[in-house]
């Protein structure tokens, strides 16, 4: 459910969110917090607590459960493999379907997808009755909900949670599905490729080059307070700066191309990086060769 950024305007909008440390979803009125390391640590801690709780409730880990079920002839390794294959097939098919453009191709592929889905549903139902719940599935469920609950706020200062725990628990599955979709859609803007796209833009690079590789200077706050996206963007800035300091410059026409310019710029930086790495490797091997010769003399 990731968003693909194409234009400078789109990049600028997402860049603004990164700088703010939150995104605003106007149709729901949610402010979505961008997590920092401390938040992730909290969630990791919650996962551990859930795992302890699950173990005390009598849950087995996935591995323990599968081993037990195989030993007792309930669910063999072959059946588990079949389930995993079916899951991969459905995921691959969905990914392939997303790439299709021609309606006839899409329609034809839908049938294949439906068959695969049915197969997975059949095997998955039996499997879930036997294998689930496990410590992992229990914790994943808890953490996924916590992830969303702790990210949504009513105010830009991120002080008033959008839902109290009770309100969140009262959400129906459909309502929770809508909230999760909203969250995923918003967070889907901050993919690695989109951060790369933002980082190649002059509105970012110009400011970055003035910060002397100092994130505190750039964001004006402690490194510990920075969100994961802010840190990722900063690292990317450093990387691109290192390429530019090698002396190469991207073709100026890329900056004027509204449609493909950003994508081309990312490709150019990647290609330049490849070239630089190639040069360095060649230099290193040359140095090795010459030092070997010296030793032989």
């Amino acid at each position: 459910m990731s968003t693909v950024l194409r234009t400078t305007k789109e990049c600028r909008s997402v860049y603004r969110d990164i700088l703010q440390g939150h995104s605003f979803v106007s149709e729901r009125g949610f402010y979505i917090k961008h997590y920092n390391e401390s938040d992730l640590g909290y969630l990791e801690n919650a996962y551990q607590n859930s795992a302890d709780e699950a173990t005390s409730m009598g849950f087995m880990s996935k591995k323990e459960k599968l081993d037990f079920l195989e030993k007792e002839d309930y669910w063999s390794k072959d059946e588990e493999d079949e389930y995993i294959t079916a899951t991969f097939s459905v995921n691959d098919a969905s990914a392939h379907y997303e790439k299709l453009v021609i309606p006839e191709q899409k329609a034809a592929f839908e049938k294949i997808m439906e068959e695969q889905r049915k197969k997975l549903e059949k095997i998955g139902k039996t499997r879930n009755e036997l294998v689930e719940p496990t410590v992992e599935s229990y914790c994943d469920k808890i953490i996924n909900e916590l992830y969303v609950l702790r990210a949504l706020y009513k105010d830009p200062e991120l002080t008033k949670p959008a839902f109290s725990q009770e309100e969140f628990d009262d959400l129906s599955y459909r309502e929770l599905g809508d909230v999760v979709r909203t969250y995923n859609k918003s967070i889907g803007q901050f993919t690695e490729i989109n951060i790369k796209k933002i980082a190649v833009n002059s509105f970012f690079l110009n400011a970055f080059l003035m910060s002397d590789n100092d994130p505190v200077k750039f964001y004006g706050k402690s490194v510990l307070e920075m969100t994961i996206y802010q840190m990722n963007l900063f690292s990317r800035g450093k990387f691109y700066k290192s390429i530019l300091t090698e002396g190469s410059e991207p073709p100026s026409e890329y900056y004027d191309d509204e449609i493909n310019g950003i994508t081309n710029l990312v490709s150019w930086f990647d290609a330049e990086h490849g070239k630089i790495m190639g040069k360095r490797q060649a230099q290193q091997s040359k140095m090795k060769q010459s030092s070997g010769k010296r030793r032989r003399r």
Binding site: D170, L171, S172, G177, G188
Partner: protein, 366 residues
Amino acid sequence: MSGRKNKIMKNKWLFEFDINKWEEVEKREKQTNDKGEEVEVISKVKEKRPVKFALRKPNRKLYDQAELFYGVKMSEGIKAGLLTRSLLAKRYEDDGGAFSEVEKKRYSELYLAIYNKENEYQRLQLNTDNKPEELKVRLSQDSLQEIAELRRELQDIESSQSNIFDQTAENRAKNQVIMWWVLFLSNWKEYDHNEYAQFFDGTNYDTKLNSYDDVEDSDDPFLSEVVRKLAYFVSFWYMGRASSQEDFEAVHEIYNANNPSEDASEAAEGEATEAEATADGETEKAPQSKAKPKAKKRGRPKAKKAKVATKEEAPINEEKTTETAASTETAASTETAASTVTAGVEKAVGETSDKTTDQEPEGSPS
């Protein structure tokens, strides 16, 4: 049941109903005695007081917890050596099926016999050979009786077959999950409280179960009636037979039809006590009521052998909802459900909840 602090603030209820409680109250009357003096006669009389109960409409969290509970109990069952339904079916299949050869033969004989008898009955109705009306009626009645007997035998065989599947890991887990729902959905307004509070004390299954046991162990007929009704209604809801106030009211009527004596006997007793008190009006205190009729003890909701053949048990519906469970069943099917759930929750399982699907959260957060 004192000290129930876990009050539910949200007014979202599946079903609200009253259970009458007979309480002794002092009745003061001014009367004139033989000497012409005015005296105050205090008598103890039994008065009916409706106590409010409600089944909480479960939210998503509760559905999740119930599902987890089911999963844990299922695992426990498997670990303890219980077979799953599919594995049991597979093993019977490998052994040539759940029927013995004699049963198989008898089963097909019965089917054929019913078919023949039904044909015979239809021919009689058409009366092609012009039998006298009296003879026709008599023969028709005989045919119907024979058909009923054959059907009963057929059902017995089917029932014995379905009972084989009673002791599966799924069934055990389902029975326990019904108990779980009873413990977590039951609320009441104790002593005219304005807000509902949980009926069973405790925050988790074990503590609530202890509270349930305390209620069960008390010989209070009111509490016995409460537990019986709660289990009855929750079972209907779990089976997808009731989801709205109206559905539950219909179920309540079925319950009352199946248990007509409860309130009536107590009412009669109450009246008797009152009458007694009036008769002994001269005394300061009326005699205490006689021993109350002991309410039947029910035990925890669990699957027992059904007296009628029930549908083949379907696996538990994985689809969850926080909306009301659908109740599209006809009155006839509700009757069937009622007959399988007589006396509390005798056959609480064996049906799949027909809840409206309310989709699972799509995917997990990125």
